[in-house]
Symmetry: C2
Subunit: 194 residues, 2 copies
DNA sequence: AATGTTTTGTACTAAATGGTAAAGAACATA
DNA sequence: TATGTTCTTTACCATTTAGTACAAAACATT
């Protein structure tokens, strides 16, 4: 019932594939590239991911979201000031290593690349970003209730604006890979939270 | 001195290639796709564009920028109210046909896809977006001088913020392909111009 | 009509790519 | 040790793709 043992862990190789997809995008990444990065052979790969590259990409999106969202939710829950949580979220662009943040937003990249070639994958990425918007929304409603946010505009609209700002920074930070400029820009965007 | 006549015009076929690149992105578009769209054969193609797909893409970026920027500069010059020009620029997202605007910002897409695989092409797209930022900057300084803009913050920072908002909308409009939602979002972003 | 020039069309090559198939390796259980 | 099961490895195939080469076509000039 239990044959030859697997030499790899699914979630682990999905994580390794993430880096490639994030840096090169979906189309520019070949299955052979992925195999090399994951350290497994074709046979194992197509057995574990019968849908090939596409199925792998879906799982990469899923895992990425899982990791990012659960961590952020914990951070928000642990935070005394939901507004400060949002600020830190945006400021992480300039505090995180350049190598990472220069790749932009993984989901934003996916939408940009795939919205006209693979609607299914694009929609998956879009839904994950909606979860981020929801997180903003949660933080804002809490803050308004606690009197930690003067701005009394519709939290749904505010959250959506934050998401769009986030999407923008995913592109702009590659036009201006300069922490000074980005910081100034981010603080400008964050004025909406005053 | 003048051999067999060309059956196509360079700028014209560059225009035809634009649509494909814009919709599918760089990697997902094969040279054969392009040949079909441009309506020419391999021989002609590689004679006119010795650098192949990459050279064609560069020229597509260039032509796109040329068209968009010159048109916008004229619009700004013809406008009595520079702020209204900017507003219209953003509102064009909801007024233009869905088929077009759902492809997002061509330059933004290029940056998202190519920033880690082809720095040269990415930088070209980035520079074109900087020209757009310059246009915003021009409009803002004129408006401030004319007293048409109460907001007295640094026009350079305002222009950069507008650019980033634009980049964001290029992604967000595909997450929310709904004119009501987009309109609300755009008006929110434009409050910076009050 | 002959010549020179530029473009076109097609045939071809070489490499990359996605995916399948089958043999055997590594386990658990009986 | 024999058997059944699952995973791995490698070989293989078919297709797509980028790019080149070359003969012929379509002009202008002489």
């Amino acid at each position: 019932m239990s044959g030859r043992p697997k030499i790899f862990d699914d979630q682990e190789v999905i994580g390794k594939a993430t880096e490639l997809f994030w840096r090169q995008g979906y189309e520019a990444t070949s299955t052979e590239d992925l195999l090399a990065a994951m350290g497994i052979g074709k046979g194992s790969f197509y057995l574990a991911f019968k849908g090939g590259k596409k199925e792998l990409y879906e799982k990469v999106l899923e895992q990425f979201n899982e990791k990012a969202i659960t961590r952020s939710k914990k951070e928000l829950a642990a935070s005394k000031d939901p507004i400060e949580f949002i600020r830190n979220f945006f400021r992480s662009i300039v505090t995180s290593p350049k190598k990472i943040h220069q790749k932009g937003c993984f989901f934003g990249n996916a939408i940009a690349e795939l919205s006209n070639t693979d609607i299914l994958l694009m929609r998956k990425a879009a839904n994950h970003l909606k979860e981020l918007e929801e997180l903003f929304h949660d933080a804002l409603t809490i803050a308004q209730k606690n009197g930690q946010l003067k701005n009394q505009q519709d939290p749904a609209l505010l959250a959506r604006t934050l998401l769009s700002n986030w999407n923008g920074l995913g592109i702009t930070r590659r036009i201006y890979p300069d922490n000074e400029i980005l910081s100034e820009l981010i603080e400008m965007q964050l004025k909406i939270l005053e």
